[in-house]
C-alpha cells in the first residue's frame, strides 16, 4: 500500500516548539524508506503519528486508498491496520513466543502461525518466554507479531538499537529478505546510516 502525508503539523502538548510544520511525504507500495536524523528530530514521533498513537497532529494521512487522518477524520490506532515494531519490542513477558505472535492475529490460524515461525526462523522456540530469547530472536518475534495481522504498512522504530554490532550485520540481511518477500511498505527509523544503506530503497533525513 502507498503512504502519503500532506501538510502535517505537530507539537507536543506541553511544548511550544513545532516538531513538524507543513511536512509532506510519499512512499510507494513495497518500498522501504529509512528515516534518519538526530535525536529529538521527530523520527519516532512521525511513526507514532502515522500509527495513530499521537492524536494532536493536524494534516492529511492516507494509507493506500484509505484516508486515516484529515481535518474531520481521525481513524483510531486500532483500525489503521499498521504493524509496529517498537524500539524495545514490547513483547508480552507473560506470553510464550507462540502466544505473542498469535496475539497479532484477529483469529488464531495455526497454519499461518507455522509459516510465520518459518519466515522469521523461530522454529523450535515457540514455547519459550521472551526473556529466554536472545536479542535477535526477540526482534524477530516482534517482527513476526507485527506481520501476523497482515498490516497495510509496517513501521519499525530503531529495530537494531538494542542489539550488539556483530549481530546487526546478519540481522539487516534477514530483515530485508523477510520484508521484501512480503512486499510490505515499510518505514524504518534509525540513527545509523549503515542500517539505511543496507536495508532501504530510499532515505529521508529529518
Amino acid at each position: 500500500m502507498n503512504l502519503s502525508i500532506e501538510q502535517l503539523n505537530f507539537q507536543y502538548k506541553n511544548s511550544r516548539e513545532r516538531i513538524f510544520e507543513k511536512f509532506a511525504l510519499s512512499v510507494q507500495e513495497g518500498q522501504i524508506l529509512a528515516i534518519l536524523g538526530k535525536s529529538g528530530s521527530g523520527k519516532s514521533t512521525l511513526l507514532r503519528i502515522i500509527a495513530g498513537l499521537e492524536e494532536n497532529a493536524e494534516g492529511i494521512i492516507r494509507i493506500g486508498d484509505k484516508l486515516v487522518q484529515s481535518r474531520n477524520i481521525f481513524v483510531p490506532v486500532e483500525k489503521r491496520k499498521v504493524g509496529f515494531v517498537f524500539q524495545d519490542y514490547a513483547l508480552f513477558p507473560f506470553m510464550t513466543v507462540s502466544q505473542n505472535i498469535a496475539f497479532g492475529m484477529k483469529v488464531k490460524d495455526k497454519r499461518k502461525l507455522e509459516s510465520l515461525f518459518s519466515l522469521v526462523q523461530l522454529e523450535g522456540l515457540e514455547k519459550r518466554y521472551p526473556h529466554e530469547l536472545s536479542g535477535g530472536q526477540q526482534q524477530r518475534t516482534a517482527l513476526a507479531r507485527a506481520l501476523a495481522g497482515e498490516p497495510d504498512l509496517l513501521l519499525m522504530d530503531e529495530p537494531f538499537s538494542n542489539l550488539d554490532s556483530t549481530l546487526v550485520m546478519d540481522l539487516r540481511e534477514d530483515l530485508k529478505t523477510i520484508i521484501k518477500s512480503q512486499r510490505m511498505t515499510t518505514l524504518l527509523v534509525t540513527h545509523d546510516p549503515e542500517d539505511a544503506s543496507a536495508l532501504a530503497d530510499r532515505t529521508l533525513m529529518l
Partner: protein, 553 residues
Amino acid sequence: MTFGQKRRKVGAVIALAFLCLILISLPVLAILFKIELAATPEWLHFKEFLLKDTVYNTVYLIVFSLLFSAVLGVLAAVSVALFDFPLKRFFKWFFYMPLAIPPYIAAYVFAGMTGYTGVIQRTLRTYEIPFKPEHLDLMNLRGAVLIYAITLFPYVYGPVRAFLEYHAGGMIEVSRVHGHSPVKIFLKVILPLVRLPMVGGLTLIMMEILGDYGVVRYFNIRTVSSAIFSSWFGSGTTAVALRLSFYMMLLIVVFQGFESFNRSRRRYHMSGQQPRLLEPIPLKGMLRYGVTLGLLIVSLVVFLIPVGQMAVWSVKSYSLVRLDQLFQIIYNTLFYSILASLIILAINLLIVQVRRWQFDQRGKLMDQVVQMGYAIPGAIIAIGAMVIFVGLDKWLYPVYVLFNPESKRLILSTSTVLLVYAFVVRYMAAGYNSVHSGFSKIGIKYSEAASTLGKGRFYSLVKVELPMVKTSLISGFLLTFIDILKELPLTLLLRPYNFNTLASRAYEYANDERIMEASVPALMIVSLSVAALLIFAGIHQKKYKRTQEEVKP
C-alpha cells in the same frame, strides 16, 4: 596492615548485620520451638467446639475481601493510569488515603453510622422511608468484608497503578496497534500483566486480615486471630495460640509457594528496559463524566464520609475526653512510632549495605528473614517476643538483684522495650523494600568511582550514595511510621500497665461503646497518617515527573 584492619572492619559490620537478622527472627524461632503438635486438652476442646467456625469465618473473610479489594483496586488503578478525565490527578493520589484509616476504626465508624441511633437509620426514620434494619446491619461477616475491602484496597491500587504507568505503556500500545477491543486488551493483556503487583498487594491484604484483631473483636466474629487472643487472655495457656500461629504461618507460606509455582517461568516485566510511560487515552462524551462520578462515589464511601462522620463526632464529644491524658497518649504514639521507625531504618541500611557488597546474588535469604515479620500477624509476633523477653528476664534476674535486692522478676518484659522490639520485628519489611530498591537502582558504580578517588566506602555512602537514595529512605521511613501509628494487636498484648497509644485508646473507647469519644483519637491517627501519606505522594509525584522528563521521545 591497612588491608588487615579493613577486613576486620568489614567483618564487624557483617557480624552486626547478622546479629540483627538473628534478633529479628527470634520470635518466630521461639514459636517454632515451643509448638506442641500433641493433642493437649486445650487443643482438643478448641478442636471440638470452635475450630470449624474459626476456620470458616477466616476463609470467608479472606476470600471475599481479597476478591472485593482486587476488583476495587484494579478498576481504580486502570481508570487512573490508562485514561484522562476530569479530576484524574486528584484521584491518582486520593486513593492512597484509605490507608490512613485503620480497619478497626472504619469498623467503629460504619457500625455507628448504620446502627439504630446512627445517621442513616435516623434519616430514614425522619423521612418515613421504609427499610429493614437487618439490611443495614454491618456487624457480621459481610460487613467485615466491606470494611477490609474499602480500607485495604490501596495495597492493590498503588502497585498496580504504578506498574501500569511505568511498565505497560509499550504493551498497551502494541495491543491497540493490533486492533484489539478494549475488553480484549483488559482481559488478555492488562489483567495478566498486573498479576504480580496485584498478587503482591493481595498478599499484604491477606496478612492484614489474618493479623487483624480490632474489626473481628468489635463485630464479634471468631477468626484465627481472635482465637489466638482469647486463648492467650482467656485460658492463659499458649498451646492453642501457638498451634494456631503455626498453622497461620504455614498458610501464608503455602499461598506464596502456590503463587510462585503457578507463575512458573513467566515474567511480567522485561528487565533492563527503560520505562516507557503510558500515554493516557482521553475519554470522550458521557463516559468522561461517568468515570469521574463513579470514582467520586468511591472516594466518598472509602474516605470522605467516614472521616466526615469522625469529625462531627469529635466536635460533639471533645469536652468528654481528658486532655492531659490525650496529650500523653499523642506523645506516646509519636515517640514510639518515630523511635521504632528510625531503628528499622538504621537496621535496614546496615543489612542492605552488607547484602549489596557481600551477598549480592545470594542475598534472597536475607530478604526473606527481614520480610518474615510482616508475613506474621501481630498477635503471633507478640507471643514470640514475650517468650523471648520472659526468658531474658529470667536470665538477667541475678543482675537485677545486684542493683536492687527487692527487684521484680520481670523488668524488660513489662517495659516499653519489649513493645519497641516487637514493632521492629513486625515492621522491618515495611521500609526494607524502599531502602533495598533505592540502593539497587544506583548499584555500586558510584561508590567504586569514589574509591578510585581514594575515598572509603563509608565516606562515599554518606557523601555520595545517601543523598542519591534520600527519597527512598524517606519513603521507607514514612511507610513504617504509618504502619506503626495504626498498629493495635501488638500494643494491646505487650503494652505496660497504664500505657496507651492513640490506637489502643480508640479501641478501649469503642469497646466500651463510647464511639463518639473513640473518634477523637481515631481522627488524630487518620490526620497524622494523611500528613505522612501526603509527603509520600509528593515525593512520588516528583519522581514521576522526573521520569516523564527523562523518557520524553
